[in-house]
Each structure stands twice: as C-alpha cells, then as structure tokens.
Symmetry: D2
C-alpha cells in the first residue's frame, strides 16, 4: 500500500505542540485559571481533529483493503475498541 | 439486505428508559444532587454503548456492502460526521 | 435548605424519555442506522444539558453553603470525581 | 491571593509536549494508523487531567474567594460555560 499523505495530521500536531508551549508560558505568567483552561480545551480540539483525520484515512485505506481481503470484521473490532475510548 | 438483529440495542434502550423513570422519581423525592448526577451519567453510558453497537453493525454490514459496490468513501464521510459529534 | 426548583431537569428528562420511545420505534421500523445513531446522540445531548443544570444548582446552593461552613474542599473533591467521568 | 502551585499542570503539559514529538516521529516512520491514534488519545487523557487539575484549584481558590465576597454566582456561570465545552 502506498504511503499515506499525512500533512494534515502533521500540521495539526505541530500547531498543538506550539499551543502547549504557549500554555506553559501562560502558567509561568500566572494567568487566570479559566483562560488557561480554555487554551487546554483548544489543544484538545486540535487533537480530536487529528484523530478523526487519522481514523478517516484508516477507514478509506486499511479497512477498505481488509474488506476486499475478507478480513474487514477484525479491522472493525479494532476500530470499535478505539472508538470506545474516544467517545462518551 | 436481511434485517439486522437489534435485540442488544433494544435492551439497552429499554434499560435507559427505565433508569430515566428512576431519575425522575429521585428528583421528586428531592434526593442529593450528586447522586442524581451519577445516575444521569449511568444513562449516558448506556446510550454510548447503544451507539457503539449501532455503529459496529453499520460498519460490518452497510459499509462492507458499500465498499463492495465502490461507494465506500461516501459511507465513510457519513460516519465521520457522526463521529465528529460523538467524540471530543 | 429550601427545595430546589427542578422543573428544567424534569422537562429535559421527560423529553429524553419520549425520544427514547421514538428510537425504539425507529428500530422496530428498521430505519437506517445513521438516522438512529443521530437520535441517540440527541438524547445524549439532552442528558448532558440535564447534568449541567444539576451541577450548576449544586454549585450555587450546596457548594456555596459548604464554603460558608468551612467544608467547601470536600464538596469540590466530590464534584471533581463526577467531572472526571463527565469529561474526556 | 498567593501564587498557586502549578507544578502538577506544568509536568503534565511537558509530558504531553514530549508525547506529541513522539507522535510526529511515528508519522514520519509511517507507523500503523491505530497505534498513532492510541497515542493521540493518550495525549488527550493528559490534557484532560491537566484541565481537571486547573479547574479543581480554581474552585478551591478563586470560587471560594468569590463566594466569600458575594460574587460566587458569576464565577459559577463562568465555570459552567467551560464545562459545557468539556463535556458531552
């Protein structure tokens, strides 16, 4: 299988890393709790987006291939274990 | 496509409905906030389980069929829209 | 402490119960998985709203009183245990 | 108000940043989607823990002070807006 284009995920992760640096600085500057908390939520939103992107490509590539090879149900079980943790 | 076995989902939903009746009674009895809140969380856990079950069957049946018919990517897009709401 | 006004929570819970009845009917009618899944998500949103309402009143009444009586930290610990489950 | 001890939050954030570096490397190494996804979930769990810690201190310090000064309800409204985003 060809290597997937991961530029979207890489950009999201690098942005998330930069924002974490910013939050560490906010704490050093003793900024207001709720403002810090909102920034942490923003990073969580980026990571969520990253994970949805990973999962989408996984389904369109690996799961598709697995169904073609008659092993789709194992892949689905694997995804469900991840979704169980994603989602409340 | 044959009709799916939905007994797991039906049982979960009927249990959830019974628990909601119980929570309404807890409120009528003026029970402690945190105890009520925990029961609401328990119903949310049941609905989460219901939704994972629905999604699992959807992937093993509808998505499988769609990939076989060359329309898998549309189905994946549709699932991703639902997952986006599921998951933070 | 006077009895809290719980009409908002009761209305939300009764609506949730009605929607669950609707979902059970959707399953009996063999409706499309994704449509069922979206309705389950809608009920989860109602329960989330219910829980936020319960928590808000809890903080404005019980937690306030607890801080006045010097026992606020115990109440906060109790809330954090609930939030830990709420929130991913 | 004295400066809060933020060492727990700082350690969690620095660990999260290190894990994001690791995930970027996993992507460069073209590792399996589900393994990458699990690592993203692990960072989200760290950020969740960070936010709960921030919120707990906020409630034990700022909210306590606000209730003492008769402005507790405004603080609670502010927290509820954050919780609304936290929690599904």
């Amino acid at each position: 299988m060809e290597k997937k284009d991961r530029s979207t995920e890489l950009n999201l992760l690098k942005t998330a890393r930069g924002q974490i640096d910013g939050i560490i600085k906010m704490i050093d500057d003793d900024r207001y709790c709720i403002d810090i908390s909102k920034q942490v939520l923003a990073v969580q939103a980026l990571l969520k987006k990253t994970n949805l992107e990973i999962l989408k490509k996984h389904m369109n590539h690996c799961v598709k291939t697995a169904f073609e090879e008659g092993q789709g149900e194992d892949k689905i079980d694997e995804i469900m274990l991840v979704l169980d943790k994603y989602y409340r």
